[in-house]
Symmetry: C2
DNA sequence: ATTCCTGCAAAAACTTTGCACCATG
DNA sequence: CATGGTGCAAAGTTTTTGCAGGAAT
């Protein structure tokens, strides 16, 4: 499920990169906060508890790296921040979507593969081979009705 | 299809706002560039051809206003810009999705209502009433294969 | 040792705000 | 002529970059 230090070191090695305390800690924070949608600033604040000297720039650089390594997923909830979460699609493309309540702003995560039939249709209709998707549904959650 | 000056004036009046040359021109540009995904800066440059004295700040303010009036649609292609396009969902919720090619970056627009069955499912499964959605599919287009 | 990384501060990029003057209704 | 809008410039935010010192292999 989660990536241990040796696996991480190996992934970095393939790109000629090194495993540093800072990289390990940023990944740890993301892994420990699965299901959260954290901004760079939020990640920085959490990491700083254990590693007070870490700079925000390093967090930004690490986040980009983790995204390139496909360890984390980027998402945009239209609030002016880019948010990140640990990638759940490591285990065989099990995507999830976000239901965003327009009243309370709550974000509900949904695991669902219903999108697959649509993706097949795009292949036959437009000859476009979908490899990933990002879906946001806006609406009203059960508590706000 | 497109919003004329009187309709626009009426929409503004309901909010106690005035119809100005600048607002009319920004809306014109968006309407004339249907299918494009324009940034504030791009809109500014196009409007400036006809109205050289318009300021970028006015474009930003107008864009926000048009979005509140639901005349334009906001979209994010993860390139660091917020982009806008004339809303096609005026005519009875006929949404469209974006197919983004990971090789050439081309954005293909797709009109499709296949999402409806999924939305119905969210209602029964999560009691979440979807009112809107934003969908981006990433993949490889036919030209890049 | 060499190469890569980090922290800091400065810069960049995008967007918002304040204010005096101007335009609309 | 009252109210709201505009342009400009300044300030705000979020993110990126340059560089000298520090850490990893």
């Amino acid at each position: 499920m989660s990536v241990n230090s040796e696996e991480f070191r190996q992934l970095l090695k393939e790109k000629g990169l090194k495993l540093t305390t800072q990289r390990r800690m940023v990944l740890d924070v993301l892994q420990e906060n699965e299901g959260q949608h954290l901004t760079a600033e939020e990640i920085h604040e959490i990491v700083r508890v254990r590693c007070p000297e870490i700079g925000l720039a390093t967090v930004y650089r690490t986040i980009q790296l983790l995204h390139e390594l496909k360890l984390i997923d980027k998402l945009n909830l239209d609030d002016g921040y880019i948010r990140y979460e640990i990638g759940k699609f490591n285990d065989d493309h099990h995507h999830h979507h976000h239901l965003i309540c327009e009243v309370c702003g709550k974000v509900i995560e949904v695991e669902d593969d219903l999108m697959e039939s649509i993706e097949e249709r795009f292949l036959s209709k437009y000859n476009f081979a979908v490899t990933d998707h990002k879906v946001k549904f806006y609406g009203i959650c059960k508590d706000c009705k």
